[in-house]
């Protein structure tokens, strides 16, 4: 069972609506990644954090998403105005050391934009 907790498991939104998903990383893991997996199984890195600070993010994330990892609260990823192309599985992963070697994925939030 995954130690990275993601909620909700499923999310359905209309175009133009906000879509917010949350992630509780594994205890003691300071680095958090968000990935998008589309219907073609293609993975796209979105953003990563170390503690509360953004390490890297892609252009799409910076322009259309709002993401944060506040201390003592779940991390969150929010699409400000959902588009049909945002329909995908959003995966949160946490890492002890930041690299990929200790990366654990949550169960994901499956977003459907109608």
């Amino acid at each position: 069972n995954s130690k990275v907790i993601q909620t909700p498991r499923y999310l359905v939104k209309g175009q133009g609506q906000k879509a917010k998903m949350r992630c509780i990383p594994e205890k003691g893991h300071p680095v958090v990644f968000w990935y998008q997996q589309n219907k073609n199984n293609e993975f796209k890195f979105l953003i990563n954090f170390q503690n509360q600070e953004v390490l890297q993010q892609i252009d799409m994330t910076e322009k259309r998403f709002s993401a944060e990892c506040p201390s003592n609260s779940p991390c969150s990823l929010e699409i400000q105005s959902s588009e049909a192309g945002d329909s995908a599985l959003y995966l949160c992963a946490s890492s002890l050391q930041g690299g990929a070697e200790t990366l654990y994925f949550g169960s994901g939030t499956r977003l459907t934009v109608l």
Partner: protein, 113 residues
């Protein structure tokens, strides 16, 4: 652009056979090469991984073969079982805090009995 190429897209093997999945990469700075499997409706789970200091890594029925010169690596699933049916992804990463994964396109493996 960093890329990881994976083949075949799908693979069907009989129970007991060895399934072979292949990946190649371009970026020489990649230094960590994991394989994940993903069952329908679930998230990817780490199966086995290798670093370039080795050219082979075994874990039970799963073996990675790594060829640094050719920038290729493969996953061999020996004695395939129906429960191995899943989508398998290779990936690559550089070191450090920004060690984000670059995934291959995936191989859907079906093991028939």
């Amino acid at each position: 652009q960093q890329q990881v190429r994976q083949s075949p897209q799908s693979l069907t093997v009989w129970e007991g056979e060895t399934a072979i999945l292949n990946c190649s990469y371009e970026d020489s700075t990649f230094d960590y090469f994991p394989w994940y499997h993903q069952f329908p409706g679930e998230s990817p789970a780490l199966l086995i991984a290798i670093r370039p200091v080795s050219n082979k890594k075994e874990d039970g029925r799963f073996t990675i073969f790594f060829n640094k010169r050719e920038k290729k690596f493969s996953l061999h699933i020996a004695d395939s079982q129906p429960g191995d049916s899943a989508t398998y992804f290779c990936a690559a990463s550089t070191g450090g805090l920004s060690g984000k994964l670059t995934f291959g396109e995936g191989t859907q493996v079906t093991v028939i009995s």
